[in-house]
């Protein structure tokens, strides 16, 4: 059968960059699914996108579907005709539902079902164009976007208005209609060539034809062209361009034909903090900042323009003007802040609410300081400069710069440090890093001072919100408490900080005034908060594919002890050994143990009450390993502890085989339960092993 390539291009008014990647994925998936069901043969499917085109190319599609006979099996053959030889109601209904005449029904023998009624439905051959038309109509209709609109009479719902459809199979038009737009062989060039209508002869000509008209449809090719522009600037100006992936991606979907524009700006702007300048360039203008080898910002930037090099001077001038205007605002704010006396910041903090029921940001400052000092004592950190500097951590929140550029909260403290009289480089970093980590893969506080200050800041918000019951539920987490919990986990884990969360929560709880504390009992708070933090820990390990039984088995230990370092070790040990034969055996025995002695209160074992050899052997073995198990657990050598306990397998099996626990003699029975409880408890500091499932 002859084959041809397929081209489908949907022209849409500028689709936002954040929609495009998802749309491409969905389009590929849907077209693949629909093509697989279409009974057309087809080769490779590729999807491309620019800010105004969604393009699908399918290789080697057969020119038509074959005529086929589809067999549909129905009810039992007995139901075809009644005693009089007339077709039954059931048979008529079945024929109707299959779209065939009742007379055409046959009987066939089907494995396991016996003789059944069979309808043979003839599906005629269809031309590829016809099939493809409905494939694309369907695929486009099913695309989902974060936000939709309507714009035309049929109220078709899409991200942005659809304005043209180019759809061809070989050199033939694929007839289709979406949102009142009919397909044709034509498409349009970009705005800078006047949205010229051009005709595309065949799918193979498409890319070339558009490229001749300065549209690079292939995302990868366009991205490479941006990278080449960056490399060119780096080579020519001996600099390092900020290759921010998000920024490249954003520019990728703001241009159909990227051209680089390097713009020099007066070096007086460099007195602004580089994070601030970079933010103005990236967020407000989509420009790339440039640096020397040492990371100092240089007085020029790279802008990407959509178009060719004509009128470059205009664009350069425009880019510079808009940069200057934005920076003038920033300079004004920064200068104002640098001139403002810090007592003004403090006054403003006293008026800035943290949360209605939890006082002002100034109150929060005092609490964080007291938590910090307690943590430092606990960890034997001596650094008076740190606790002094902690008074300033929220000052930047009332600065003009952060007011305007909220992304710079924290960061600006580094630049205001001289105002605060903070000179120590590590402390300057500490007061600027309290919000780190601010996403799941962002960097962490860079030194131990940063780390403990960030912990103190985060625990204060968590404890405060939990006291007043502002606990996240579902997608509702306005204060980002989940992020804070993850942050605490990561900071403690990565810095290996031997600080129990029980202590941290207690320090924070005690820093709140009585009238707030009385809103929630400490023990309730502690349990709720540790449970909440454990949920975050679970989801972190779940992404690492740790199974939920392991996570469940250590949950209660965590809530009792609140120790992140230990819980990580336990989880890792269990992951390592779960599928080992020895461990599997002992864990099954422990399940049995738990069932027998779960309600039994721990009592002393009395050797004098032993009646059988197996009791004695088991007891001796347990006594022998108990001290080392305890020591290994204390030293977090959980693997060694487990290995010790696995030695119990044989004596325990023998015990179960030969000793009856529930005997009539009450004293003997209790003693046996006490023995089993003792064995059971050997594991209690490692995991509730009975929860492990196989």
């Amino acid at each position: 059968m002859s084959k041809n390539d397929v081209l489908f291009e949907l022209t849409v008014e500028n689709i936002p960059q954040r929609f495009v990647v998802g749309a491409k994925e969905q389009l590929l998936k849907k077209v693949t699914e629909l093509m697989s069901k279409s009974r057309l043969e087809f080769g490779e499917i590729k999807v491309y996108a620019t800010y105004r085109r969604l393009t699908v190319v399918i290789k080697d599609v057969s020119s038509k579907t074959e005529k086929i006979v589809e067999k549909i099996y129905g009810p039992s053959a007995r139901l075809l005709k009644d005693e009089k030889g007339n077709f039954t109601k059931a048979a008529e209904g079945f024929a109707r539902s299959c779209g065939v005449k009742v007379e055409s029904l046959k009987i066939e023998t089907v494995e396991k079902k016996g003789d059944v009624i069979c309808a043979e439905k003839i599906i005629n051959a269809q031309k590829a164009e016809k099939v493809l038309g409905s494939v694309f109509e369907q695929a486009v209709k099913e695309l989902e976007f974060p936000k939709n609109m309507i714009w035309e009479d049929s109220k078709f719902v899409f991200a942005r208005p659809i304005r043209n459809i180019l759809a061809i199979y070989g050199n033939k038009i694929i007839p289709l209609n979406i949102a009142g737009v009919k397909s044709s062989k034509n498409t349009f060039t970009s705005y800078f060539t006047g949205f010229k209508s051009i005709s595309v002869r065949t799918p193979q000509d498409y890319m070339k034809t558009l490229e001749k008209n300065h549209v690079i449809v292939d995302d990868l090719k366009r991205k490479n062209s941006i990278i080449r522009i960056i490399e060119g600037v780096e080579a020519f100006s001996k600099c390092v361009v900020n290759r921010d992936e998000d920024l490249i991606e954003e520019n990728l979907y703001l241009c159909e034909h990227p051209s680089g524009v390097v713009v020099k700006f007066p070096s007086e702007f460099l007195k602004l903090p580089k994070e601030l300048l970079n933010l103005v360039m990236k967020k407000q203008l989509k420009f790339f900042s440039c640096y020397d080898k040492k990371g100092n910002m240089l007085p020029f930037f790279l802008g990407i323009r959509d178009g060719v090099s004509k009128g470059h001077k205009n664009v350069e001038e425009g880019f510079l003007n808009v940069f200057k205007a934005r920076c003038s605002d920033a300079i004004f704010f920064y200068d104002t802040d640098m001139k403002t006396d810090i007592s003004v910041f403090e006054e403003k903090l006293k008026k800035l609410l943290f949360q209605k029921e939890l006082g002002t940001m100034y109150d929060k400052t005092l609490r964080v300081k007291s938590v910090l000092e307690a943590v430092m004592r606990e960890l034997n950190i001596e650094k008076k400069e740190l606790s002094d500097a902690s008074s300033f951590i929220y000052y930047d929140l009332v600065s003009s710069v952060v007011n305007e550029f909220s992304e710079l909260e924290g960061i600006m403290n580094y630049y205001y440090a001289s105002k605060y009289g903070v000179a120590d480089e590590e402390i300057k970093k500490a007061i600027s890093e309290i919000y780190l980590p601010n996403s799941s893969d962002s960097k962490l506080p860079s030194n131990i001072y940063s780390a403990v200050l960030s912990l103190s800041h985060k625990i204060d918000t968590l404890v405060g919100d939990f006291i007043i019951g502002a606990i996240p539920s579902g997608s509702n987490d306005p204060h980002g408490l989940r992020r804070y919990a993850v942050g605490i986990f990561r900071i403690i884990k990565e810095n290996d900080i031997p600080l129990s969360l029980l202590k941290l929560i207690e320090f924070s709880y005690n820093s709140y005034p009585e009238e707030i504390k009385k809103k929630k009992d400490f023990n309730v708070l502690k349990a709720e908060l540790l449970d909440f933090i454990y949920q975050r820990i679970e989801s972190i390990f779940e992404t690492d594919r740790v199974s939920s039984d392991i996570l469940n088995s250590v949950k209660n230990i965590f809530i009792r002890e609140g120790d992140i370092i230990r819980i990580i070790k336990r989880i890792k040990t269990l992951v390592e050994i779960k599928n080992k034969e020895d461990f599997r055996n002992i864990s099954l025995l422990y399940k049995r143990l738990k069932n027998i002695c779960k309600d039994f209160e721990k009592t002393e074992v009395q050797e004098s009450l032993f009646e059988k050899e197996e009791e004695k052997i088991l007891y001796d073995y347990a006594c022998r390993i108990e001290p080392s198990v305890n020591k290994f657990c204390k030293d977090m050598e959980y693997l060694k502890a487990v290995n010790e306990i696995t030695g119990l397998t044989e004596p325990l099996e023998n015990f179960f085989k030969n000793v009856m626990v529930m005997t009539e003699n009450e004293d003997v029975k209790k003693n046996r339960l006490a023995l089993l409880k003792k064995i059971y408890n050997l594991f209690s500091d490692i995991s509730d092993i009975s929860q492990i499932v196989y």
Binding site: E13, N14, P16, Q17, R18, Y51, K147, M149, I150, W151, E152, D153, K155, R160, P161, R163, V181, Y191, F192, T193, G194, F195, L254, V261, L285, K286, G303, R305, D306, G307, V308, K310, G311, N314, V315, E317, G318, F319, N321, V322, F323, K324, A325, S328, D329
Partner: protein, 285 residues
């Protein structure tokens, strides 16, 4: 191109596209969207196209004439078309050509920006149009007005006239724009900016304005009851301006602000409801 010529060119262009050149509405307002030609114009199913200059007041943005980019009162050029032609983007870009901007020599970017006005209960889907990096136009397909789902859809194109003119005259300060050959924007506006800044930030009578807000609100209910949606809507605009004056003085708490916005939205909704009932009862939702 002089400021006044820019306006003329845009008028000429959009009149040719079939727009009715209505005039600015004589009540203070924060944006051209508040003009009844837009507010009521978009609500019904009848085709409607209009263009006009709208003086827009933003008391809180005033800077005593000292900031080269910020004004307490400025001019928007507003175009609304219902339903929009399928080439509306191209038609808009051609309007830039009409005011002397050669598109092949500049960079145009359409940056996602979905406009909304919580006071009008309005929102739309669209973009900011950037000309060589500078935002010159807000381009929006209205989806809702006064909390009504709209159909057919209206497109709203709002040019910042000062920005556009600064661009075309290559000025870095709005007050340096040449209004005509002899007069600058500063000649016309800078004293006004100073005086209105002083009024907005220092001398406006807050208590009186609060009372007026309440009065306008009561009048809306009263006038709607009399089936007079135009006068009622005047009261909505006045209440909205009172709100802007109160905001400028920084006297509103977050909760109060949200509350006043909701009250204005409710007033606007009443006017829209009556308008639809009277003009297109079958549309009533």
């Amino acid at each position: 191109m002089h400021f006044q010529d820019l306006i003329n060119k845009l008028n000429e262009y959009w009149i040719k596209q079939g727009c009715v050149m209505v005039q600015p509405y004589d009540i203070e307002k924060g944006a051209g969207t508040f003009n009844p030609a837009t507010f009521f114009g978009v609500l019904t199913s009848k085709p409607w196209a209009a263009c006009y200059v709208e003086p827009s007041r933003r008391p809180g943005d005033a800077r005593f004439g000292a900031n080269p980019n910020r004004l307490g009162k400025y001019y928007q050029y507003q175009v609304i078309i219902k339903p929009p032609h399928k080439d509306i983007q191209k038609i808009y870009l051609n309007s830039l050509t009409a005011i002397g901007i050669n598109l092949t020599e500049h960079d145009i970017k359409w940056v996602e920006d979905d406009w909304e006005s919580p006071t009008l209960g309005a929102n739309g889907i669209g973009w900011e149009v950037w000309l060589d990096g500078m935002e010159i136009t807000q381009f929006t397909y209205f989806q809702q007005m006064a909390s009504y789902q709209l159909f057919p859809i209206t497109v709203e194109i709002t040019y910042g006239l000062e920005r556009l003119c600064m661009f075309s005259q290559k000025k870095n300060n709005v007050f340096d724009i040449k209004w005509n050959e002899k007069i600058t924007y500063g000649d016309v506006h800078s004293e006004m900016e100073k005086q209105f800044s002083a009024y907005s930030f220092e001398f406006s009578d807050i208590q009186r304005i609060r009372n007026e807000f309440d009065y306008y609100e009561s009048q809306v209910a009263f006038l709607i009851d009399k089936s007079l949606y135009y006068p009622a809507y005047d009261m909505v605009m006045k209440a909205s301006h009172s709100f802007n004056l109160l905001m400028a003085r920084g006297t509103l708490s977050v909760a109060e602000r949200a509350n006043l916005i909701k009250r204005i939205r409710d007033m606007a909704r009443l006017c829209a409801k009556l308008y639809i009932e009277k003009n297109e009862p079958e549309l009533k939702k």
